[in-house]
Amino acid sequence: MEVLSWSGDWNLPSIDISCLEVLAYAKFAGCPLRVNQCNNPRKSPIGEFPVLQSGEDVLTTSSKIMDYLREKNFNADYQLTAKQGADTLAFVSLVHSKLYPAISFTFWMDDKNYTKFTRPWYAHRLPFPLNYFVPGRISRQTRYQISEGMYSEETDDVLENKLFKDALECLKLLSTMLDGKEFFFGDSPTTLDAVVFAHLAVIWKAPLPNNKLFNYLQGYDNLCMFCGRILQRYFPQAQQEEQQQPSQSSSAQDDTVDSTEKRNKWLALGFAGLAMTLYALFSGLVQVEITRVGDDDLNESTPDMSAFTFRGQEKDGENTTE
């Protein structure tokens, strides 16, 4: 089974909430998943990640993937009672409807975060022509989702206040539910833990220029510890990598910046050269005439015929060039 996802950063295996939900759930259920951080939305049938490919089946959206894993007997919820199962469904829906919009707003609609952080981050990782359109498309899509498809004359400020009020309340409720326990339903993590972790970890780790949600989250010690606990226990490799290369990270970043700059320079030069050549050819400044070399010459030629004819053509070209 292979999962296509957005790549990770800042100690997280992926920075996208839905991808993180799936990855965390798979870890909790002990399901061996191969993660392909392909960052190319064209590879997904709906243009979004995560996507699970398992044999013939291709599944999109995190809830469907988690259902599929459960069907395949990778169930993290087997020890829950029916009532706890119902609670799981209810709290997952609470997190998706109250916390998720505020996080998407912070990433994709807050001007400062979007231009200084989110857009560059995604543009860096997307393959070449897509990096120009995809971030803008996701931003527009987010706006559409948050406004529930309706045009409203609410300004961003009013909307922001409303979303953050909901998010703050949701954090408060989650903190009460978690209380002093290790996980929401006792000692082992379940679907609800995967969903809550995915949302909180992104708030906790993302180095956003304007991160109001992080300030809210810091007020709840048990939620922060919950995130830390899951990261430490279930995603240790991501952390180790980070610890191993704290010094390299800055130089590596410089390298990538350098390489993209170089690439852009060469691309620009190549494009300019190509445009000039084409212009020269089409406007008649330079003319290339290809004359067929006569049969007599061919008969006299050496076995290396192609090389010979090519040289002959070149000579002809030079003659006619002015």
Binding site: I46, T60, T61, A82, K83, G85, A86, D87, L89, A90, F91, S93, L94, H96, S97, K98, Y144, Q145, S147, E148, G149, M150, D157, V158, N161, F164, K165, L168, E169, C170, K172, L173, L174, T176, M177
Partner: protein, 257 residues
């Protein structure tokens, strides 16, 4: 609005309404009974139920254009003194601000459960009903006809298509347009299953006291069970849960007679 955060806003909102006095002339406006749609009927029923749970006097009035009178564009809406509040959520928070809420002295844990189940209903029952009404081809024809028949000739077409467009936009934003009909019914079944598990053998959902959750569940299930629908795909799901059916009957006899 000043730079205040959600906390200051909540304080301002709490201070601006007078506590403890319920206005005598509270009126609840609903669309007419004969043309009302499933989702609207559900939210009107829920609101009535919640007002009855809280023991608040109100008068129910039917207006053909209730939807266009409402400040939020959703029915029902409540007028009290000079206040005008739309939507079940809005009315519930108005009642809470007035201090009549049945869940006022709940502990945080019960409150968390209540909010969670409210959002479950909002994010799966309501979209599922809307999907069946407006997105499913053979139901949508009937829905448009039912919605449009209260208006004169050119308006019935224009308004019903506009309403369908709006609902479809809402479903697309919520990502429900990618679901097939079977997935929608499955989602509806799963939600009913969860509600049934949560209710168990109790009288009410949370803390043995009627709350917003009970009102919403009652409104929706009652409408699904009693309204005429083109097929029984939704109502048959509800009927498989005996305790939910009993719950609806109990609320009807306890509060509506």
């Amino acid at each position: 609005m000043a730079a205040g955060g959600p906390v200051t806003e909540a304080v301002i909102a709490a201070m601006s309404t007078e506590q403890g006095v319920w206005p005598e002339n509270a009126e609840l406006y609903e669309p007419c009974k004969d043309t009302i749609l499933l989702t609207d009927a559900a939210s009107c029923r829920s609101t009535e139920a919640y007002l009855r749970f809280c023991g608040l006097a109100h008068e129910v009035k039917s207006r053909r254009n209730a939807e266009f009178m409402s400040p939020t564009g959703k029915v029902p809406f409540l007028t009290a003194d000079r206040e005008l509040i739309g939507d079940f959520q809005g009315i519930a928070s108005f009642i809470e601000a007035k201090g009549f809420s049945t869940s006022a002295n709940f502990e945080m844990k019960d409150r968390a459960e209540m909010k969670a189940y409210l959002s479950l209903i909002e994010n799966s029952l309501i979209p599922a009903e809307l999907y069946m009404l407006w997105w499913k081809k053979d139901w949508a024809v009937r829905t448009r006809q039912q919605y449009g028949c209260q208006y004169p000739v050119p308006l019935n077409l224009i308004l019903s298509y506009r309403k369908q467009w709006q609902v479809c936009q809402y479903l697309k934003a919520a990502g429900w347009h990618r679901k097939t009909e079977r997935e929608v019914i499955d989602e509806f079944r799963r939600t009913c299953q969860a509600l049934s598990e949560k209710l168990g053998n109790n009288r009410f959902f949370i803390n043995d006291r009627p709350t917003e959750v009970d009102a919403l569940v009652f409104g929706h299930l009652h409408s699904v069970l009693t309204r005429y629908l083109p097929d029984d795909s939704l109502s048959s799901v509800v009927r498989t849960h005996k305790n939910l059916e009993d719950f609806v009957m109990r609320i009807l006899t306890d509060f509506f007679q």
